[in-house]
Amino acid sequence: MSEALLSIRDVSLSFKGIKALTAISFDVADGEICALIGPNGAGKSSLLNVINGVYRSDRGELTFAGKALRRPRPRLAARLGIGRTFQNNALFKRLTVLDNVLAGLTRKARASLLEHTFRVGRSASESRHFRELAEDTIAFLEIEAYRDWIVGQLPYGLQKRVELARALVSRPRLLLLDEPMAGMNHDEKQEISRFILDVNRDLKTTIVLIEHDIGVVMGLSDHVVVLDYGRKIGDGSPQEVRDNPDVVTAYLGTVH
């Protein structure tokens, strides 16, 4: 394992008396797949929201790629190369799949408003270039057939894929995935797992992922962090976590 790409130190977050996160610390190594698990309402999504600046933590520090993230804001995080998908699909509902994916490329855009308005300068070449990138990603995730569909009319599972494509297209260094496989059947989950592995391996993207399917987590991740009631109750390799009795009682139950 190489050094930490993201390090979280002592992060706390509360909402009107509800402690969503309490003094969370852990590191995500460069190039690893880190799974975040825990019961419902444990604070997993909140933690992702803190990392890319959707929520502002009350306390604590974040370091990304060696630099302290003092006041993370979503756009800043995006510019630094942190991509994200959401638990409740947050797609641009009335745009097509292709346009959703293209929108994910904004952080790479250089052409100005005026260039676009008058179709001069970098406008055309950039559009062409973006189009290629987007098509590649769409092909990679095997959703070409739906390229021109309005996203709002796609079934849930496909929407999750589109979201992944949108996050992926700008080649982020860190990808935060919030339940990317919810609502999918076994095969589909495997397919997505393969995509995630490919991205991780081929593009060297570091991934933090929330997932409830423990089988997937075990198969996919290098490192698992367990949250419960806003606290970290486990942190280690998949096997270690699985054998941790706290984790079993709080989360897994006896089923697995």
């Binding site: 929201n49 959707v54 638990q87 409740n88 947050a90």
Partner: protein
């Protein structure tokens, strides 16, 4: 000082009149997230129906009841032919539908009841009475009392009955509301019916002040800033907003008017409202938008 007080009191009393119109908006917005532009036409229609009956020789109470029945029938028709067909459409689409509706209502009002200007006499003298150093009109006090009573009873009605929560559920997510058995049609009829009642009250009071005529529809312009300040979803907010707007508008006209050349009250209320929004993006008492990811 007494001049200041008089201006202030005049403004506050006017503000109550604005609230009266604003409540109609709040009701419908609460129930369906619709910004009902036809509220002004409903005010006109109600007042016109009432005077027409009165002028035809009806007594006060029967005229009032029949008007109310007409308004409720209208509410049922609106639910049946417009709202039901537009369930789940975007806010703007619904908004525009109410604009279309306002054409229909205005057209119907004039078709059946003519376009003449009518006097509406509620039998309350508009004679000033002296309260200390200031003059207050009996009529205005009555209007204020009516509005107050209306607000309190509606607040109670909506906060302490199931209807209140059901309405918020519908406004939040009509699909989910239907999925658990909340009857949109029934509730919409109730709310639009109550909005018709409010329109009737507003129409009577405003009609008595300014005559029953087409420009009654314009009273909505006074209600909008009230809504922004109070919040679109709060009945109590409508009254607080009304007082704030009435008072500030009146004072501005007097004290800023000279400075800026008068007529500042055309926009002053909106600017006050805007300033409020910058501090509280959902008005004083409105529900904040919820967005979780």
């Amino acid at each position: 000082m007494s001049f200041f007080l008089e201006t202030l009191v005049g403004g506050l009393l006017a503000g109550v009149m604005y609230s009266l119109v604003a409540i109609g908006f709040v009701l419908i917005y609460k129930a369906s997230g619709i910004f009902n532009f036809a509220q002004g036409s409903m005010v006109l229609f109600a007042a016109l129906a009432f005077v027409t009956l009165r002028e035809a020789g009806w007594d006060f109470v029967p005229a009032l009841l029949v008007t109310l029945v007409v308004m409720v029938a209208g509410a049922i028709a609106i639910e049946r032919f417009v709202l039901r067909a537009l369930i789940g459409q975007s806010d703007l689409t619904l908004f525009m539908a109410t604009l279309g509706l306002s054409f229909v209502i205005e057209g119907l009002a004039q078709l059946f009841m003519g376009a003449s200007v009518h006097e509406l006499n509620l039998g309350i003298d508009d004679i000033p009475i002296e309260v200390g150093p200031i003059l207050v009109s009996q009529f205005d006090l009555l209007a204020a009392a009516t509005a107050g009573a209306l607000v309190i009873s509606l607040s109670l009605f909506f906060n302490f009955t199931r209807i209140g929560i059901s309405l918020r559920a519908i406004a939040d997510d009509p699909l989910a509301a239907q999925s658990i058995g909340i009857r949109l049609p029934t509730l919409w009829r109730i709310v639009w019916g109550v909005a018709g009642l409010v329109a009737l009250v507003a129409g009577l009071l405003w009609g008595a002040r300014q005559g029953v005529q087409f420009s009654l529809t314009l009273v909505v312009l006074k209600a909008l800033p009230v809504l922004i300040i109070g919040g679109f979803t709060s009945i109590g907010g409508a009254i607080v907003g009304g007082l704030l707007i009435g008072a500030s508008e009146s004072l501005a006209e007097i004290y800023l008017g000279d400075l800026l050349g008068g007529s500042v009250s055309t926009w002053f209320a909106y600017v006050v409202a805007l300033a409020f929004l910058l501090i509280r993006p959902a008005g004083l008492f409105g529900d904040r938008a919820i967005e979780r990811v």
